[in-house]
Symmetry: C2
Subunit: 310 residues, 2 copies
């Protein structure tokens, strides 16, 4: 792996970098904003890219929000976007599942969901039947009757053939037990994404992987992991390419996570990857000898690209 090129402050290099690409895929949290705070200069930078005829796509692993929810967030922060520019792991999962279930003429067509409303909205948009999710009937303590019904199968829907795990702020023992019971009956194991942590309020909280898929994988044992539809999974890249008819060589992934965003771009053989240091990643992470992967370029912050307009 060659050394990443540092672009901050180098106007000529930035112009050359921008000229290489038609499409920029942006991770959002830690790149464009942190929580509800949009980073200075981000809006101008996105506008500058649009003025130069570039397409910007917002590619997020956050599965709690649907594309419409995400657009609301972008709009509230004055970031120019349409719903078509948003690509989330819930949407990616819904497309993948709908295709998988259709192709297999799946005899068990329902999905048991661990997650929030964003997943439900996207599954519904692809006409996939689901249960679990935000159902208030599952937001409670487990009872002796539940133990019995999950053990003997009477508490399970025989039409469930797939478990989809995402970030669930209402995770509990009953949901984990139910998902585990479906997996033991042979349900396909999928995850919107397996991020270990969730950046919030300039700190870190449990991520999707830590609350649902990692615990379930540990129960199932044998090293079995879910098919993940978020970055860095190429299921997501294929879906993005299919929707936007990308020329991968003229596409650049911009992100703040080495093992998620940068790996996503490199595994997807994109023309470029750009790391920003406003989120999780530190320069040390990709400069150290045993770095998992390395971006092609890096800047301190997204708005450092803005000097191209000077």
């Amino acid at each position: 792996m060659s050394s990443p090129k540092y672009l901050t402050g180098d106007k000529a290099a930035i112009n050359e970098f921008i000229d290489k690409f038609d499409t920029f895929l942006f991770d959002c949290d830690g790149v464009l904003w942190s929580g509800d705070h949009v980073f200075d200069g981000v809006i101008d930078t996105i506008q500058m890219l649009h003025e130069k005829g570039k397409r910007t796509v917002f590619v997020t692993n956050n599965s709690t929000k649907s594309r419409q929810d995400y657009l609301k967030k972008l709009t509230a922060l004055n970031i120019p976007a349409t719903v078509e520019d948003v690509f989330g792991s819930a949407y990616s999962s819904a497309i993948y599942i709908s295709r998988v279930l259709k192709q297999a003429s799946q005899p068990k067509p329902k999905v048991f969901v661990i997650g929030e409303a964003g997943i439900e909205t996207e599954l519904a948009s692809e006409n996939v039947d689901f249960l679990g999710g935000t159902d208030p009937a599952l937001r409670r303590d487990i009872t002796p009757e539940d133990f019995k019904a999950l053990a003997d199968g009477t508490g399970l829907d025989p039409d469930v053939g797939l478990v989809l795990c995402g970030l669930d702020f209402h995770i509990n023992y009953l949901k984990l037990s139910t998902a585990f019971a479906y997996l033991r009956t042979g349900a396909t194991f999928m995850a919107t994404n397996t991020d270990s942590t969730l950046p919030m309020n300039h700190s870190f909280f449990p991520g999707a992987g830590s609350v649902s898929s990692i615990p379930l994988a540990n129960m199932v044992g044998g090293g079995k992991m879910p098919v993940a539809c978020g970055k860095p999974s190429q299921a997501m890249m294929d879906a993005v390419e299919g929707k936007f008819q990308l020329d991968r060589a003229r596409t650049c992934m911009v992100g703040d996570r080495l093992e998620t965003d940068i790996k996503f771009g490199i595994d997807g053989r994109l023309g470029g990857t750009l790391a920003v240091l406003t989120g999780v990643m530190k320069k040390h992470d990709f400069e150290k000898e045993d770095a998992v992967t390395r971006p092609a370029f890096y800047v301190d912050k997204v708005s450092d690209l803005g000097v191209a307009t000077d």
Copy 2:
């Protein structure tokens, strides 16, 4: 590793086996009972061992119950025992923590608990200050205020120096977030046990490791795992030895989990290990070539030892 000796039906071999030992350490669930159903012949077998002057100790990774709670269960099932015969992972953890905290003159003397009342009872019995656990204030959804208070530290008790994870039927996002925040401030990471599953109602449910320590280890990253006080951790064996003044060479561990019970006995250099096939373990698990470990002896069920009295 040599082949385990099969004792079922071999009266002479059983008598020889029993004569080798003064103390039998019994795992409980899957060995003596399943759920609330005591296996046939178990009571007679325990009595037979007592009549032969053997000591029986009940060594359980179940941290949701205190020793007193466990004694109630044993008594309800007519298994002869006193509270002194019970050794659980909650008790083992309390002893370990109390010693660790005392030795280090720990400036942060409080323990944040993920778990049920059993852990609290045992910590209290060792005069260890704790918070979390069954506190109703944590049995609720996370709020924006919680995110803020955990991120800026105002929601954390500055005296917490240790996080103890066990099985929690009321696990939720708020508890995991709080434990994660303490771990990030440098708290020591401990677990009563890290069992992946919990046998219940002749089926399997999420175990202690899957609901608390594995998710937290995944968030913390870098392969960091908690110090575990349950089987197969030798912290538990040391505590058992200290309490009962065991002669390890004349002690046998009886259990139904290869990686928990049998490993516990072998790592502890006990004189013997006996596997039973009434729980998780199948004969194939220790007969296959890449078996993690192998018991010295096995029987179909504990009561097969009972023919020694014939």
